[in-house]
């Protein structure tokens, strides 16, 4: 065991030391160049390792994906746009698109609002209280999706009427003498999709809370005090002073969560696997990819996602431009 720990430690040191060295060397290389060239080349050297990583792990696979979306299930023969037309002509797939849209409309907004709420309110507590509250909200993030599925099973599970309920919600119904409800099958008004979103919110609010909390803490105290001296109420201070100053972080969180929700699959996969009209694009992708071994259809879904992300990026560009103009 000790030998193993030691080997691991050495490996870790080598990995981290190696990474540091790369930058040191890159910087040295840049400094060897004449001054005029140094400034021109340096930015590229700084982003080079990041870009290499992204090229290998994202760009190259993404390009392959676009190509594969026009090929058959094992990526051997060209099939034209058949993968797309097959998907889009299936009514089940259209339901899947609608459900995904529902997730995109609801989850990012609620994530930002709840995360901001916790970050702001906890900020006002005593340090120990703040720490406790934040740790509790953060706790679910430390749980793997499979763990989360087990946890929520004990909330939503429905045993046959008359049997003892092990799901919290049905046990509560039982207290009021009501029959158990199979929660995850309730597809009217997409109740079951909403219940799945609750699981995602529960597990991911910690993400927005951490980022927004850091931003809220970064708001200079003097701007708050200035507003207070001017007689502004707490609500006014929050909306007129705090929110404008952390707008950048809010947008960052909103866009990150939106993109994350576009490809959300694990919660849906482990809890319903898309049954009862809860399917979403990410889950459909996963099933095409891992269950059906149809990399053509899976690739077509990813390409659709890449197209769908363009409006979000367009918004981001506009935000940058506005930022630059203000600077």
């Amino acid at each position: 065991m000790l030998a193993k720990a030691l080997t691991a430690l050495i490996t870790v040191a080598i990995g981290i030391g190696g990474a540091m060295l790369v930058y040191y060397l890159l910087n040295k290389i840049a400094e060897l160049l004449p001054e005029r060239w140094e400034d021109r080349i340096k930015p590229y050297l700084y982003i080079l390792p990041a870009f290499l990583a992204i090229s290998v792990y994202l760009i190259y696979p993404a390009v392959l994906t676009v190509i594969n979306s026009f090929k058959d299930r094992f990526s051997r023969n060209w099939v034209g746009t058949q993968n797309y037309s097959d998907l889009l002509s299936s009514p089940a797939f259209r339901d899947t698109l609608l459900n995904t849209l529902l997730w995109i409309l609801i989850v990012p907004a609620v994530t930002v609002i709840l995360g901001l709420l916790v970050a702001t309110l906890a900020d006002r507590l005593e340090p120990s209280g703040e720490k406790l509250a934040k740790t509790i909200i953060f706790l679910p993030m430390a749980i793997s999706m499979v763990g989360a599925a087990t946890i929520w099973r004990f909330v939503y599970y429905a045993a046959p009427a008359g049997q003892s309920q092990i799901g919290l919600q049905n046990a509560l119904l039982g207290v009021f003498g009501k029959d158990p409800v199979a929660w995850l099958q309730q597809s009217q008004f997409h109740l079951n999709s909403l219940l799945l979103m609750v699981v995602l919110l529960w597990s991911q609010i910690g993400f927005s809370m951490v980022l927004l909390s850091a931003a809220v803490k970064g708001v200079p105290v003097d701007t708050l005090e200035a507003a207070r001296i001017d007689g502004a109420g707490e609500r006014q201070i929050f909306f007129r002073v705090v929110v404008p100053q952390i707008k950048g972080t809010i947008i960052t969180v909103f866009i990150t969560v939106t993109i994350g929700v576009m490809k959300i699959f694990d919660i849906v996969y482990v809890m319903t696997n898309g049954n009862f009209n809860t399917n979403v694009l990410g889950n459909e992708f996963y099933n095409q990819f891992s269950t059906n071994f149809n990399s053509g259809a899976a690739a077509a879904i990813v390409v659709m996602l890449m197209l769908a992300v363009i409006p979000i990026m367009w918004y981001q560009v506009r935000h940058f431009k506005a930022e630059e103009a203000n600077a």
């Binding site: 060295l21 696997n273 009209n277």
Partner: protein, 434 residues
């Protein structure tokens, strides 16, 4: 003007880089395909006790040849193996539970035919039908090593005998009559649950496979599995009819039809053993379900649990059985890997696994006295006595259907979100064209 950077960091860095290069150079050699080393790697998802028993017997067979076995338990082997094949990084032998995946592996030329690897005597001792499941285009690619039986109806033995219900049922009509009898005694005849996390719906497909096999016989079953007979056909509708008679009729199922899709298959049978008397009386499942029963029941299986096979359509008629299992496939044609596979095909490979696990041998001549209890022996008798062992149909169908629409549309039908016509036509429509 530059401020010099401290020298010490750079020295550390150089050492680190040098060491890092060495590490990369000598790191990680997976016992992959193509290599003909003395170590043979096996991947499987079988339960640990089964793996331990098989490994013990296997080692004693091949260690004389200087072969070392590296057996890894992996989760979700169907998905992992397809990914690894496409990446060209595979074990020598893999145990695959789904014939559909074996077919895909063969079509990717990732596995070797076993016709000349497995001895004729070992092939001859296999239960009829077990070789067909692993055969693609006339060649044997997957060899069943450990089996399970489906379509077994479990009942709480003590209460059952006290109530005087019959311990064997001759025909489906008799089963319907028994169901009525139990209900008229004021009891709930059936336990039923098809919830299984990501695989919700599969127990319903097992029911359908059993019913199609019993009503249609071997040929009709195989024709249905290969989609020559569509889902929207008389035999499938007949199966659906019987399914809904037994399970949708008011008072037949614990919790009613609405509860089926939300009740977990693993715990659905447990009310049979309620202290205050059975909450439901019969549970149709595979041989593996006893592992889910409460601990005190598992400790006394032979006293607590009774079982009979799902009856044939007519008394004394054709009675094929449905089952599943793990098939060994050969991904590397090295001599050592072939030797190991040949050893896995022998009847006595299960001698160490049988007494201590849920292992059931697919060989007719396996020594039944090795099984740990009468219940296991009775499944083994069902297997070795059958005229036709039909491999689980949904596992043979393409993934889109067998692990997709067949599960999902059955679930939608049972939970009342789709009518039968829609469900059947959806499944037919999802069958891949190529």
């Amino acid at each position: 003007m530059r401020i010099p950077v401290k020298k010490s960091t750079s020295l550390l860095g150089v050492v680190a880089l040098a060491a890092g290069l060495t590490l990369t150079a000598c790191g990680g050699s997976d016992g992959g395909s193509g290599s003909d080393s003395s170590t043979v790697t096996i991947w499987s998802s079988v339960d640990q006790p089964v793996q331990d028993g098989l490994l013990k017997a296997l080692e004693s067979k091949v260690s004389g040849d200087g072969i070392k076995i590296e057996w890894k338990k992996v989760e979700n082997i169907n998905q992992l193996i397809m990914t690894k094949i496409q990446a060209g990084d595979t074990p020598d032998i893999a145990f695959i539970p789904q014939p559909g995946v074996v077919k895909d592996m063969a079509s990717l030329d990732a596995i070797q035919p076993l016709d000349d690897v497995v001895s004729q005597a070992d092939k001859d001792s296999m239960v009829p039908g077990t070789l067909e499941a692993g055969t693609v285009d006339g060649k044997l690619y997957g060899l069943l090593v450990s089996a399970n039986v489906k379509g077994l109806i479990f009942y709480p033995k003590k209460a059952w005998e006290a109530a005087g219900y019959p311990t064997s049922v001759e025909s489906i009509d008799d089963l319907n009559a028994l169901t009525e009898q139990i209900k008229s005694d004021g009891n709930t005849p059936w336990c039923m649950g098809i919830e299984s996390d990501t695989a919700t719906g599969w127990p319903a497909t097992d029911w359908f496979e059993t019913l199609v096999a019993k009503y249609g016989g071997v040929d009709e079953y195989n024709s249905w599995v290969s989609h020559d007979t569509p889902f929207d056909s008389d035999v499938v509708r007949q199966a659906a009819d019987e399914f809904s008679t037994l399970l949708f009729t008011e008072g037949n199922v614990l919790g009613g039809q609405e509860a089926i899709a939300s009740t977990n298959f693993g715990t659905a049978g447990n009310p049979m053993f309620d202290k205050k008397g059975p909450g439901c009386w019969m549970y149709n499942q595979g041989s593996f379900i006893t592992g889910f029963f409460p601990k005190d029941i598992v400790a006394n299986l032979d006293d607590e649990v009774g079982v009979f096979g799902f009856p044939p359509a007519t008394a004394g008629g054709d009675n094929p059985i449905i089952g599943g299992g793990d098939m060994a496939t050969l991904l590397n044609d090295s001599d050592n890997a072939k030797k190991v596979l040949a050893a896995l095909a022998a009847t006595d490979i299960g001698n160490d696994a049988a007494p201590s696990s849920s292992f059931i041998s697919p060989h007719k001549d396996f020594d039944a006295s090795l099984y740990p209890n009468d219940l296991t022996r009775s499944y083994a008798e069902v297997i070795s006595g059958t005229t036709a062992f039909l491999f689980d149909g949904s596992d043979q169908m393409p993934g889109e259907v067998g692990a997709g629409t067949f599960w999902k549309d059955m679930t939608a039908w049972i939970s009342g979100q789709e009518d039968l016509d829609t469900a059947l036509s959806n499944i037919d429509a999802s069958w891949p064209s190529s």
